[in-house]
Symmetry: C2
Subunit: 281 residues, 2 copies
């Protein structure tokens, strides 16, 4: 939504999810799009594409500690709708979400897919990326770099590609962590880029110890893994001294200044450094 | 969703909207996609495209008698995002909906857009297309054919194109009619095609008097106007003797047999007849 962020209609859209109070309940809604050639490879198994479309949206719910209710699908016809539906069904069953409805359209260009996921908050206030406070510790569930090597394996036809093809949303972890965190978001576009977004949203500095970040790829590729997207781990902050309710690694701390920035091993990144995957530009 | 309808994951998706009971309230959710070259012209004013994207989704809510809460936008970057946001803002203000969130993606092919609209039901049970009963009368708000001549005007550069560019969702009408109707849906793909869908969903026959259908185009084009989409009027059924709470014209009656079909001026359409606009297939 940042491409629209300068416009009045789009104010307050710097977060991935909408939070709605309805009849005493708190709903979380998110919408993600995927486009062939950008978010998935042309010719990729449609079942994997469907899985990823679901997992990326469920990951947004996970970061809010929300339990999925269901999804609405925007489906542009592609090859092998049957395979797509198989993957969709598997992913929805895996995350306990129902297919509530949607729309099917034609089209001759690269396939575009959209999914809206609706969930019920398990904890209020619902975690956001705005709540990181100086003195907090910065944590990460799981490891990064797996989607990067998974994509390479898929392209080359050799090696393990599941981390790219079938990402796992940290749903149980997000629900367990929601009552503890001061801020939480999923890492979809690269750890450094998403950490910078959390820093900006919270008006603090996230000082990261990159050597502490667990890797799902060779050590020699650490710098790339920190900037690669699609790993869907949860990045969160909590006051020092709290033990997270889900497995996670402490990878830094929150400082007061310089605000709205990250420090990478104590240094401000050069403004021309690539921090992650920008979907548009 | 019918392209996916043979698959178990997609059962029950023959309706345009999802209805969710949340904390004592009833929510209605809908998702529509629009693709450049199919649902709008390449080079069309993005503000009009945004308006139409909102109006088509609000029209689905209108058919459910639901009052809009907000929308989530799936926005693939195109030319003139600023104009798009202007039209989006106008349409959202017009229908009283908030922009809750969404996703922005890149892409080089025809632009694909998705919108999820969320509304609050004003009447339960929420009207569906399944409730038409033998003896009911068939009604239509407004006229058809305006979008057809509007598209022609837009293409030729001469004449009035607003009905195509800026369709009006029958929101107030849908809310007024919801407590009265036995079935209701919006006419997005052509009156005959959508009537056939209502007949099939309800397991009845809709016998239509096409001469009674109000036209927003010359009489000579009646046959086309009955099959043209994009007019977004409401098609509904009510027991005989009830006066609709919104302006509408009686255009037929519901018969028991032959079920799941329409009769056009007393005759079954030939199975090869085109009844309307199929988005896919």
């Amino acid at each position: 939504m940042r491409a629209l962020a300068g416009h009045p209609a789009a104010r307050g859209l710097d977060d991935d999810c909408a939070v709605l109070e309805i009849g005493g309940e708190t709903l979380v809604l998110t919408h993600d799009m995927m486009v062939e050639g950008i978010h998935f490879l042309a010719g990729q198994d449609p079942a994997d594409v469907a899985w990823k479309l679901v997992a990326t949206n469920i990951s947004d719910l996970a970061a809010k500690g929300a339990k999925p209710i269901g999804v609405l699908l925007g489906y542009q016809l592609g090859e092998e709708s049957g395979r797509f539906v198989e993957g969709l069904k598997e992913a929805l069953a895996h995350y306990g979400a129902a297919l509530l409805g949607g729309d099917t359209v034609g089209g001759s260009g690269p396939q575009a897919l959209g999914l809206t996921a609706i969930g019920r908050a398990t904890h209020v206030p619902v975690p956001s990326r705005c709540g990181a406070r100086p003195g907090d510790r910065v944590w990460l569930t799981g490891a990064v770099g797996g989607a990067m090597t998974g994509l390479e394996a898929l392209r080359s036809g050799a090696g393990e590609s599941a981390a790219y093809r079938r990402p796992q949303a940290r749903l149980a972890e997000g629900i367990a962590l929601a009552p503890q965190v001061s801020a939480m978001m999923d890492v979809s576009d690269g750890l450094l880029l998403d950490a910078a977004r959390m820093a900006r949203a919270s008006g603090v500095c996230l000082s990261l110890d990159t050597g502490a970040v667990p890797l799902a790829c060779p050590e020699s590729r650490r710098a790339e893994a920190l900037r690669w997207g699609d790993d869907y781990e949860l990045l969160f902050t909590m006051p020092a001294g709290i033990v997270p309710a889900a497995p996670a690694k402490c990878i830094g701390e929150v400082l007061e200044a310089p605000a709205a920035q990250i420090l990478v091993d104590g240094k401000l990144p050069n403004s021309h450094d690539n921090l992650g995957f920008e979907h548009y530009g």
